[in-house]
Amino acid sequence: MNHYALTHLQQLEQESIHIMREVAAEFARPVMLYSIGKDSGVMLRLAQKAFAPARIPFKVLHVNTTWKFREMITFRDRMVKDLDLDFEEWINPEGVANNINPFDHGTQRYTHVMKTEGLKQALNKGQYDAAFGGARRDEEKSRAKERVFSFRDKFHQWDPKNQRPELWNLFNCRVAKGESIRVFPLSNWTELDVWLYIHHENLPVVPLYFAKERPIVYRNGAMIMVDDDRLPLQPGEQPEMKRVRFRTLGCYPLTGAIESGADTLPKIIEEMLRSRDSERQGRVIDYDESGSMEDKKREGYF
């Protein structure tokens, strides 16, 4: 490589920083959605880099479903403190009042209320006109066509046929009142890129990504971790200790673990490289049918 060349990771990083700066400059009320996972962690680091030596100039928002792994919340609170974030948490109060949970109401309804509706409430309440999300285009096929700046109408709906052409790095940041843009600065990153970046930057991640003995039960072919006593055990179900880790993090009753011995970053990367299954396999919510993510996005899910 010649002297004036960026490696692919540097190039991805610089481009993401450019995107964040555009948003900070052109939108009145941007917000960063923080899901605590590895992609969110990379976003936070990129935001630090984009605005250094200044502080991250927008709010960081976590839409909590109340069913996150406990270690995620501990990690979140630590990040908020260490990075001096302007942090806000939102939990759908109607969902709480009606005790919406994945067991009594089914995965779809629960996700809709606690995630999609919760997110919309939080965005409306904050009157945010731009929201950063950590989604990547390599995650799922319908994401492959997602723009970096994804336009949403005032009902937060995504219309795949009515997306703005996106050329060069000239992003159209104009929205009318009530409309918003979901911004995906990691669009061009792959899962491998994210891990390599975490390794390169020595970023902290939730310990759940590393293999450890954890109590699990088997449900629909997935290994579900018994994170607290709210998980109703079925008759005869007995949690057993397994050396497992998570490739992706979400609500613990909906996130499958994988058996693994990978307890360091290089080992995680090696395991992923040798693996023959893609990362979304661990997410119960995508399993329903092949177009399910597209349908969720139309409704306003990320």
Binding site: H8, Q14, S142, A144, K145, I269, L273
Partner: protein, 647 residues
Amino acid sequence: MSYSRQLDEQGIDTYLQRYGNREMLRLLTCGSVDDGKSTLIGRLLYDSQMVFDDVLRATKKASEKFGTTGEEVDLALLVDGLQAEREQGITIDVAYRYFATERRKFIIADTPGHVQYTRNMATGASNCDLAVILIDARHGVLEQTRRHSFICSLLGIQHFVIAVNKMDLVGYSEARFQEIREAYSEFAARLGVRDIHFIPLSALKGENVVHRGASMPWFQGSPLLDHLETVHVASDKNFVDLRFPVQNVVRPNLDFRGFAGTLASGVLRTGDRISTLPSGKQSRVKSIVTFDGELAEAFAGMAITVTLTDEIDISRGDMIVAPNNAPPLENSVEAMLVWFSETPLQTGKQYLVKHTTATTSGVVDEVRYRINVGDLHREPAQGLQMNEVGRIRLECTRPLAADAYAKNRATGAFILIDRLTNATVGAGMIVERKTAADATQRRQAAADAGRFVRMQAKRRITPEARKARLGQEPFVLWITGLPRSGKTSLAYALEEKLFEAQRHVQVLDGELLRLGLSRDLGFSGADRWENQRRAAELARLNLGSGISTIVALVSPLEFERQQVRAIVGADRFLEVFCDAPLAVCEARDHDGLYARARAGEIQNVTGVDAPYEPPQRPELTLDTANTPAADNIDKVLQLLRSRHLLP
């Protein structure tokens, strides 16, 4: 995944180190609906073992439902994403795919080939280094092929791979491949793309995609993936012209004031003298700040924060440049525009113009012509419809620090936004050429700055002395008209008359120019303009030496003739129009130009498949169809006498 082999050989630590040093290549794939584009991408991913088992299982399931390949897995379904398009069996938007090999990370912008999706192709092409253009070996070069190639070249892609697909359906015929190669090369000569590479392949059978295969031993080149891994694109970047559009002003406290942005081009070092646009104020680079520490230098593509030694007022939308290398600041730019919106482009309507980090408002005050994307011909147009491409003039409220797109993609591009709907309605690429008025203005400005004076000072011989010696007032006679309308014979007859009258005169006609001075030019619109420009500049130099010039060129466009008038200087420029109907000209077709054009052997012939705009205010119009040649010669001589250019 093929990673396993690499890992066994290298171990994870070596792998991590090497992977960190990979380059990135962005490429665009384009082809018509049935060219097998999705199959090709699927094949690339599948054969380079980038497909996960669960995805493959899902694809197998989908193959049974939607597939077109019978028992085999339909690789196209690996890449076709949205439900709607899967049901229609076509790709309807730009989709991005990612894969990596040991050498590079690839981002594929997969764009549809359907006629109405020019906008998607332009979108995909805007960030790409390379385009893979698919041709179905059975059908050869189609209008779609030309369309795709044109858009790719318009968006500045310098590397083309012409993937001649479905070779299995033409018996892997070398002759067929060569035939397509020749046909495409002839067309592509007009595009001005630096690097065009042809590969015969079969995506379905996996021949020459990742693996060489045994069916085409006659092909000596590399398979597609090899080429993508090795094609040299690093030198495409501009490290010469410093352009740093300011995105944000960073002010964490009273002691720090930095300007954040991405270096669009060039190299910036601490201590460098810089100038800011539009204010023109100068300073020096105090530091280049990043989260990871200060840098001594930064180069194109890097996102940095810069502090300066002086307190000067800079805000978002301003540009930091080198004092001796600044782009012109202009309210009015010429550009190629791709129109995206269902509502046609309206001249005179206000749009928002986003150029680098600056947003201003602007009006397209003229559509000079529309390009027929299929055959590259220019057509007169009032506005632009969705998916049309045209040459326009944009007048902005605030000046743009604009470079030509050909020189600088980042500072030569802009988008147009509708003020009411906020939709992105157009994408523009700035063209260097100035309008006639601008050129005159610039010349005037240069004269004011004393450049002419200095030039004259170097010259010891004054124009007056030359006139006295040569005994003449020099002029430029520009003869325009359709091919075979009698321009050249008029020019040489005039030369003879003037020579007899002791005048010094030079004739420039197309044949003479293309013999040497313009030997490097073809017959595209841009090349034909360049040929005229060179003739005009030569005529101007002749004027300086006291010699008259007679130029005989078709010069079909009014706007271009205005420009040559500006180059020469309006006071010494005489435009003569040889007016003869096309039928008359075509009847005089002694060398078969029109016949070959009609037969489709050659393109871009004025009168046949390229427009001719008659002059609006020529100094003289000659009826070269009915009037005897001698009378026409006399008319020109009379004109010269009436202007006191001939006694």
